[in-house]
Symmetry: C2
Subunit: 233 residues, 2 copies
């Protein structure tokens, strides 16, 4: 059986990763490499490589004579974009979205403040462009276009902060925004207040006003958290 395009490894990894993060294989349960090889109809070689990757994400632990044990949630590398994707696709997406949004609300204001100090002219220009793009797509069911601008906007801010750790959170934010748009039921157009705030943030960064940038970003974060409270359990 060779149905996938991108290699056996990828398919098996994705399937197992999803099963584990979604709780189908609860912590403590044991997998056997031979069984997995049979189940996926691949060689043990492939399985072992997958297990090693899952092990590096601290999702499982492999011990001789006992098998591959699923580790408790607390040890997982929850910052791994792959893990985040799996978890957002799984059962506890709401909880996941919430903790990620809280993370954003801590990071992004500081990042925006730094961006107001360090952003290049180029970054300011693209930021404004993206903000205008958000305005343009904020009405009339253009959710996908809006999402694209939104992701790009936040990515620029994080990059412009000049801090590597912030910059690398761009992928995480992208996953959160995408998850919100796609999985959360969003019939309506985005909140006009949020759109305005993005425009104002672009201005604050362009004018090099760290305090304003931080304050505005905090407002955006509050809005995002509020939105979760309204739509989720």
């Amino acid at each position: 059986m060779t149905t996938q395009s991108q290699g056996l490894h990828t398919h098996v990894l994705d399937t197992l990763g999803l099963e584990i993060s979604s709780g189908q294989c609860p912590p403590g349960s044991v997998l056997r490499t031979d069984e997995l090889a049979q189940r996926f109809d691949v060689s043990r070689t492939v399985i072992r490589e997958v297990i090693r990757v899952l092990e590096s994400m601290h999702l499982v632990e492999s011990r001789r004579r006992v098998g591959v044990t699923v580790r408790p949630t607390e040890t997982w590398n929850v910052y791994d974009p792959q893990v985040i994707r799996w978890r957002l696709a799984g059962a506890d997406r709401p909880r996941q979205l919430r903790s990620l949004t809280v993370l954003r609300s801590a990071i992004e204001p500081v990042a925006a403040s730094l961006a107001a100090r360090h952003a290049t002219a180029e970054q300011c220009a693209e930021l404004t462009e993206r903000a205008l793009g958000m305005v343009a797509t904020s009405r009339g069911q253009q959710l996908e276009g809006y999402l694209e601008h939104d992701i790009a906007f936040h990515r620029i801010v994080l990059n412009a902060s000049g801090n590597e750790m912030f910059a690398r959170l761009g992928d995480v934010v992208a996953e959160v925004l995408a998850g919100r748009t796609h999985h959360q039921v969003m019939f309506e157009d985005p909140d006009p207040a949020a759109v305005t705030l993005h425009v104002r943030l672009a201005e604050a960064v362009r004018e090099g006003d760290p305090e304003a940038a931080e304050r505005i970003t905090k407002e955006i974060a509050v809005g995002a958290l509020h939105e979760l409270d309204v739509l989720a359990p």
Copy 2:
């Protein structure tokens, strides 16, 4: 050559990971699995498993007919504790410590604020205990003991925040604190002001005062950043 105790895989992974993150194998350089197998005197199987793990960390990219290419720094999973450890052990430790400390300064105040709301009696008790431990070891060259209390203290705050993403940053903070103590030259006892702030933070959390907890944690962060400016280039 079989010097390691914990498996060939671990040894090879650690060596290669370190070499890549320290810039010895600059982005764009190509590794060949056969060569690596020869070099480490292990089978290609082991090398392949290692490569797969490095690939999952986005440190390398494996393509047919071309080999294993080291990817540019921007794509690395810099939140992977393993990667952090490698980078802190490598050449650009100062830069790394700085960006991680900025990250802390964004996260920990928010975490402390949440901890003041959600901490259990148990957590408050252990927090106070650790603060006292820091006081007790703050004089007389007991750096290792101090470090242990410091790490535990911050870990409790992050855990008590109730946010999973914050909690999982405990390892990162631990690496930063350990790196600061071990690699940065710290002849002297810790800053007495910092010790006092930790005691006050424990109080603020115990008394359920989010604003105070956030403010005090910001002061701790400012101190840590200042310390870096003084000691590093």
